[in-house]
Amino acid sequence: MKKSLCFCLLTTILGVFMIVSGTFLSFLSSYREDVKEQKTIAMSIKNEYASFNDKTQSFRNELEKFEEVFGTYFEDMQKNEDVTVETLNKIETILKETNESTTMLKKACQEDYINDPEIIERCRIFQKNYETMVNTYVKMILGYNRAVEKYNGWNKVAPMNTYTSKVATSYIDYDKDGIYLGAN
């Protein structure tokens, strides 16, 4: 009787010990995986951020070109129509590529689960810059189409076509701070 009781007790203690240690080891393993995954995400965020910065520079270059070719008068618009439309297409392509190459940045920044201060700062800047880019693009397209309508009022014989954007058609408040950067 005493032997079976001891045996039961030992078995129970051993069982409990194995369950507890197993749970702890499993927790530790998944925790390490989690930390590793976070580091991978942080690295890909840094890479995407660097690529995003390059895209903003390209965007700026094309905007400056657009300002140059679009001109100040209807005669310039008429003369440079092909180059202007080509520039608009390039700008749209840059924005489209930016959307495609920043998926991890967007996801991580919106879900806000990484506590690295550098990542947090990059997220903040990315959100503002992305909002500025999109809103500047939308403002540009709206302005261009308004100018084309005025031009067509002047030149009814050979009117120009307005530009239809496939990427963005309205202003966004990406960082949800109530301010539409780039829209003014």
Partner: protein
């Protein structure tokens, strides 16, 4: 009967007696009231339970103090109080009522002590200043999906404090400079056809007229020309002023532009039609062709022959270029007109595109755009700063500024534009600055 048989009978009798005794005993047992179970057991259970609860509550109390997400002090504190009361009561009873067996207390004492040590140990580790708090918070925050562990034990203020004290400054300061702005890039909104259109149409102060400086180089030459274009926004303000001595005989005399302008209270004036000037020294009293003012034909001395005709404004304030007689012009509703030429632009068609006349001189022209704006152009000539303009250049300039109809007026020494009390251009006779007497002038009244 054998001995064996008598033993059997004796054993059987003994057995029967024994059975009877057992039966009686059993009956007695049934009738005996049962003993009550020991109260001590219950108090022992309460004691152990309240002890365990109290130890656990101490840890929970610390978690609650640190505003852990799962623990609320509203139920922890009453639980502690209750378990202390039960512990005291049951403990007192157990002390007063001595136990029969003592060895069972060793096991329970060991268990309870171990539990107490574990609970207090965990409490001190987690909520003391031994670095465990920092470790747990930092490790939890370093993960993506286990951050809840930190908020399970600690409040947000503590978590933020520890997280920020362990954060390093970002590697690169350039991150803060990455914010972009494209406000320096001005996306134009074209309003005008070209810069000439803009020069004519932009009139922010709503002034009655505007003076634009005009200059260029004569085509196929290096000769520079300069002049001024007056833009008059209300064509109804354009009238014809005539010299008080204008006539068709030798008694006629002309007047200088300032005199005519002053009399008519004009704010701007420009020479108009040509006049009889056989030696270029006449007094400017006899104008060529019909002169119409306020719908009345004033004079009609021989018309200018070269590609010109009536240049004037009708009652609808439209500039008309007509090859008709003075009487016919009056009948057609012309209110003010002179006679000169050539016509430069007729209904949008440039009449001087193929002009072979290349004599550059000081020239004057009048034109009107489709929107009614009147253009008065004067180009200086035979001077260092301005060689002069040909008819071709005059037409080109008028066309550039949107003239729909335009005609050349008298040039040479007569070419004068006056505004704000002085001449804007430099009337010149080939040798010096001079002001000619003229029979008439286009004026702008207020």
């Amino acid at each position: 009967m054998t001995k064996f048989d008598s033993e059997i009978i004796g054993a059987t009798k003994e057995y029967k007696d024994l059975k009877k005794e057992i039966k009686v005993e059993l009956q007695k047992e049934e009738k005996k009231p049962r003993k009550k179970k020991s109260k001590r057991k219950y108090f022992k259970v309460f004691f152990y339970l309240s002890f365990l609860i109290l130890c656990t509550c101490v840890l929970l109390f610390m978690m609650g103090l640190h505003k852990s997400t799962i623990v609320s002090l509203t139920w922890v504190i009453p639980t502690i109080i209750l378990s202390v009361i039960i512990l005291l009561i049951s403990g007192s009873y157990l002390i007063l009522v001595k136990p029969k067996k003592k060895h069972s207390n060793v096991i329970s004492t060991c268990v309870l002590t171990s539990y107490l040590l574990i609970m207090y140990g965990v409490t001190f580790l987690f909520y003391g200043s031994y670095g465990v708090k920092d470790f747990i918070i930092n490790k939890a925050l370093a993960s993506m999906n286990y951050q809840y562990i930190a908020s399970f034990f600690y409040d947000n203020k503590t978590i933020n404090q520890i997280a920020s004290s362990h954060q390093l400054e970002p590697e690169s300061q350039t991150i803060y400079e990455d914010l972009v702005s494209f406000e320096d890039i001005k996306l134009n909104q074209p309003e005008y056809v070209n810069q000439y259109e803009e020069a004519v149409l932009s009139n922010k102060e709503n002034a009655p007229y505007k003076i634009i400086k005009v200059e260029g180089t004569l085509e196929n030459t290096d000769y520079h020309y300069e002049g001024f274009l007056a833009v008059i926004y209300d064509p109804s303000k354009v009238k014809l002023a005539v010299s008080s001595g204008m006539g068709i005989d030798e008694t006629a005399y002309g007047e200088i532009i300032p005199t005519m302008a002053k009399r008519e209270k004009a704010i701007l004036a420009m020479n108009a039609g040509g006049f009889y000037d056989p030696d270029w020294m006449s007094n400017g009293g006899i104008p060529h062709g019909p002169v119409i003012k306020d719908g009345v034909l004033l004079t009609n001395f021989r018309q200018y022959p070269a590609n010109g005709g009536i240049i004037g404004f009708n009652n609808e304030n439209k500039l008309v270029l007509l090859k008709v007689s003075g009487e016919e012009a009056v009948q057609m509703g012309v209110r003010d007109a002179v006679d000169w030429g050539p016509f430069l632009i007729i209904n949008g068609e440039n009449q001087q595109k193929n002009s072979a006349y290349t004599w550059a001189l000081a020239r004057t022209a009048i034109g009107q755009r489709k929107d009614g704006i009147v253009l008065m152009l004067v180009i200086d000539g035979l001077q260092e700063h301005s060689k002069g303009a040909t008819f071709y250049e005059m037409a080109k300039i008028m066309e550039r500024y949107g003239a729909y109809n335009a005609a050349n007026l008298d040039g040479g020494t007569s070419a004068s534009l006056w505004a704000n009390g002085d001449f804007i251009n430099i009337p010149f006779n080939g040798e010096q600055r001079t002001i000619r007497r003229l029979p008439n002038a286009w004026i702008v009244v207020e």
